[in-house]
C-alpha cells in the first residue's frame, strides 16, 4: 500500500514555492483513504454492482442468452406480475416469511422466556450447542434430512401412525395442500434455535431490577413478559427478523432440494424461478426482470423494518 506520508515534505524551500507541495500532500492525504478502499470496492464492483447493472439491462430485453436480443421495454415486468407462475412465486415467498421468520421468532420468544428459569449452566451450554446445529449445517443438508422425514415412510408419518392418526399420513412434500407449509417448516427448523439462543442472550442483558419492580407490582408471568421482556428484546427481534425475512424472500437451497418448486408450482419461489427461467427455459430477460423485482421487494420490506430498530 502507498503510505500517505510518503510525499516529500517541503522543508527547505521558500514560502511561495512551498505552497504547491503542501497542497499536493493534502490531496494525497485526503484521497489516500481511497487506496485503502480500492481492493474491496474493486471486487464488489466487478462481481456485484457490475453484474447487477447488467441484470437491470437484460430485464428490458427479450433474450435467450446466446442469440440476438430485442428491446421490449417494460414487457418483462408486465409478465412478472401477469403470469401466475411468476407472480405466484412472489406470493409464495411472502408466505414463507410466516414460516422462516414469524413462527421461529414466536417459538424463540416463548422458549427463551421459559428457559430464563433454567439455572443449570451445563444444561444451558448443552442446549445452546444443540439448538445451534441447524445454523451450522448447510441448508441443503437440512432439506435432505427433512425430505426424508416427510417421505411416505418417514418419521412424520411414522409418528402419526403410531398415535393413531394414520388418516393424516401422506407424502407431505408431494401433496398440493401441504407442500408449501412443509418446506416452510424446514426453514422454521433452521431458525428457531438461533432465535431462542439470541433472545436468551438478550434477556440476560435486561436489568433484573425491572423484573423485581413488576413483580412487586403483582404482575404475573404474562404481564412481565409483555411489559419488560418484549420491549427489552426489541432490538434483537428486529435484527433477527430482518435476516430471516431476507432468507425467506431469497430462499433457494431448501426448495431446490426438497421440491424443485413442485408439485406443480405450489412451492415455486422467485430464486428458483430465476434459475429455471435462465438456465432451463432460456428466458434471460424475464428472469432478470424477476431478479430486479425481487431485489426491490426485499428493500421495500427491509427498510421500514430498520426504522423500528432505530426507535428502540
Amino acid at each position: 500500500m502507498v503510505s500517505i506520508n510518503a510525499a516529500p515534505l517541503p522543508t527547505l524551500r521558500d514560502e511561495s514555492e512551498a505552497e504547491r507541495p503542501v497542497d499536493r500532500l493534502h490531496t494525497v492525504q485526503r484521497f489516500g483513504g481511497w487506496l485503502w478502499l480500492a481492493p474491496s470496492l474493486l471486487m464488489y464492483t466487478m462481481f456485484v454492482l457490475g453484474p447487477l447493472a447488467l441484470t437491470v439491462q437484460y430485464s428490458f430485453y427479450s433474450w435467450d442468452g446466446i442469440g440476438q436480443s430485442t428491446w421490449v421495454g417494460l414487457d418483462n415486468y408486465g409478465e412478472v406480475f401477469k403470469n401466475p407462475e411468476l407472480f405466484g412465486s412472489l406470493v409464495n415467498a411472502f408466505v414463507l416469511i410466516i414460516f422462516f421468520a414469524i413462527f421461529p421468532i414466536l417459538v424463540g420468544l416463548v422458549a427463551s422466556a421459559l428457559l430464563k428459569d433454567v439455572r443449570s449452566k451445563a444444561v444451558g451450554t448443552f442446549a445452546r450447542t444443540v439448538l445451534f446445529i441447524p445454523q451450522i449445517i448447510p441448508l441443503a443438508g437440512a432439506a435432505i434430512a427433512w425430505t426424508w422425514m416427510y417421505s411416505e415412510g418417514g418419521v412424520v408419518n411414522q409418528v402419526l401412525r403410531a398415535i393413531g392418526l394414520e388418516s393424516l399420513a401422506r407424502p407431505w412434500l408431494g401433496d398440493f395442500d401441504t407442500a408449501l407449509p412443509a418446506v416452510g417448516l424446514i426453514g422454521s427448523w433452521v431458525a428457531f434455535g438461533l432465535c431462542t439462543v439470541l433472545f436468551s442472550a438478550g434477556m440476560g442483558k435486561i436489568d433484573p431490577s425491572l423484573y423485581e419492580a413488576v413483580r412487586l407490582d403483582g404482575a404475573g408471568k404474562v404481564r412481565e413478559f409483555r411489559t419488560i421482556t418484549l420491549p427489552g428484546l426489541r432490538q434483537e427481534i428486529v435484527v433477527v427478523g430482518t435476516v430471516l425475512v431476507i432468507a425467506a424472500l431469497a430462499s433457494f437451497d431448501i426448495i431446490y432440494i426438497a421440491t424443485l418448486g413442485g408439485p406443480g408450482y405450489e412451492t415455486m419461489v422467485p430464486g428458483l424461478q430465476i434459475y429455471r427461467l435462465a438456465f432451463t427455459a432460456q428466458k434471460v430477460g424475464l428472469a432478470s426482470a424477476l431478479g430486479v423485482v425481487l431485489t426491490l421487494l426485499i428493500l421495500v420490506v427491509i427498510v421500514p423494518l430498520q426504522r423500528l430498530r432505530r426507535e428502540a
Partner: protein, 272 residues
C-alpha cells in the same frame, strides 16, 4: 408446589426443542446404517448396523477430492476477504475520505441483495473468462458478495477504536501502513478472526453459486455437492443418507471444536 411446576415446564420445553432439533439428524443416521438397496422407515433401530455404508459413501462422493476442493475455495475466499474488508473498514472508520459516505452507502445496499439477482450475469461473466467449472468461478464472486457484510463488520470494530490512537501515531511519524500493520491489526484480532469464522461457514455452505457455476460436483463446496441429491431418491436412500451425513460432518466438527467462538460470532453477526 408452584416452584416445582415452574422448574418442570422449562425442562420439558427445552427437552422438546432439543429433540426436535436432533430428530431429522437421528433419522438420517439410523437410515444410513440400514442395508443398502432396502427402503427402510424413517426411524429404524439398526439391529445390524452397516458401518460399511459410510465407506461406500466416502467413495461415491469422492470425498477427499470434495474436501480438497472445499479447502481451495475457502482459502481463495476467506483470507482475501478478511484483508480487503479490514483495510476498508479501517479507512471508513478512521480516515476522513471525501466521498467515503457514498462508498459505504453502496456497500450497505449490498447487504440485502439476493444472490439470485446477479446469477445470470455472473454465469455469463465466468463463461467469458473461461472460468466456468473451476473453483475460481465461485471464489471471485463470493469475495465480492461477502464484501458488504465484511466491511460493515470491520468498520463497526474500528469505529470503537479511539481516533487518538491514529493521531498519536501520525505525530510519531508512523505511516498509515505501519500504523495498520503493527497497531490496528493486532488490536482487531477478535474482530477479524470472528469474521474469518463466519466467512468459512458461509463459504462451505454456499449452494446456489456452486451448482450454477460448477457442473462437476467434486469441484464444488461441501454444500454444493449435495445438489446431486435433489428430491426423493428411491433408488438408494441409504447411501444418500450416508453421503449427506458425511458431507455435513466437517463443518459440524469445526463447530463443536470452536463452539463458544462460533456461537458468539454468529450472534454478533446477526446483531450487526
Amino acid at each position: 408446589m408452584v416452584r416445582a411446576r415452574v422448574q418442570i415446564a422449562p425442562t420439558i420445553v427445552l427437552a422438546l426443542l432439543v429433540l426436535l432439533t436432533v430428530l431429522p439428524l437421528v433419522s438420517l443416521f439410523s437410515t444410513a446404517l440400514q442395508p443398502q438397496g432396502t427402503v427402510p422407515s424413517g426411524l429404524t433401530l439398526p439391529r445390524d448396523p452397516h458401518w460399511g455404508n459410510f465407506a461406500d459413501a466416502w467413495n461415491a462422493a469422492e470425498f477427499l477430492k470434495l474436501l480438497r476442493s472445499t479447502l481451495v475455495i475457502v482459502i481463495g475466499v476467506v483470507p482475501v476477504s478478511v484483508l480487503f474488508a479490514t483495510m476498508a473498514g479501517y479507512a471508513l472508520a478512521q480516515m476522513r475520505i471525501p466521498g467515503g459516505g457514498i462508498a459505504f452507502g453502496l456497500l450497505i445496499f449490498g447487504l440485502t441483495l439476493p444472490f439470485e439477482a446477479i446469477l445470470i450475469p455472473l454465469y455469463l461473466q465466468m463463461k467469458a473468462l473461461g472460468l466456468l467449472n473451476t473453483q475460481l468461478a465461485i471464489i471471485l464472486p463470493l469475495i465480492g458478495l461477502y464484501m458488504p457484510f465484511s466491511v460493515f463488520w470491520m468498520r463497526s470494530h474500528f469505529v470503537n477504536v479511539p481516533k487518538e490512537l491514529t493521531e498519536a501515531a501520525e505525530i510519531d511519524g508512523a505511516t498509515a501502513r505501519h500504523m495498520f500493520q503493527y497497531i490496528q491489526l493486532p488490536l482487531a484480532v477478535p474482530a477479524w478472526s470472528s469474521l474469518a469464522m463466519l466467512l468459512f461457514l458461509w463459504t462451505t455452505n454456499q449452494f446456489m453459486l456452486a451448482i450454477v457455476l460448477i457442473s462437476d460436483p467434486t469441484k464444488r463446496t461441501l454444500a454444493g455437492a449435495l445438489g446431486a441429491f435433489q428430491g426423493e431418491r428411491t433408488t438408494n436412500v441409504v447411501l444418500v443418507c450416508a453421503v449427506s451425513l458425511l458431507i455435513i460432518t466437517p463443518t459440524t466438527l469445526a463447530f463443536l471444536a470452536l463452539q463458544r467462538h462460533f456461537v458468539k460470532a454468529l450472534l454478533q453477526g446477526i446483531a450487526k
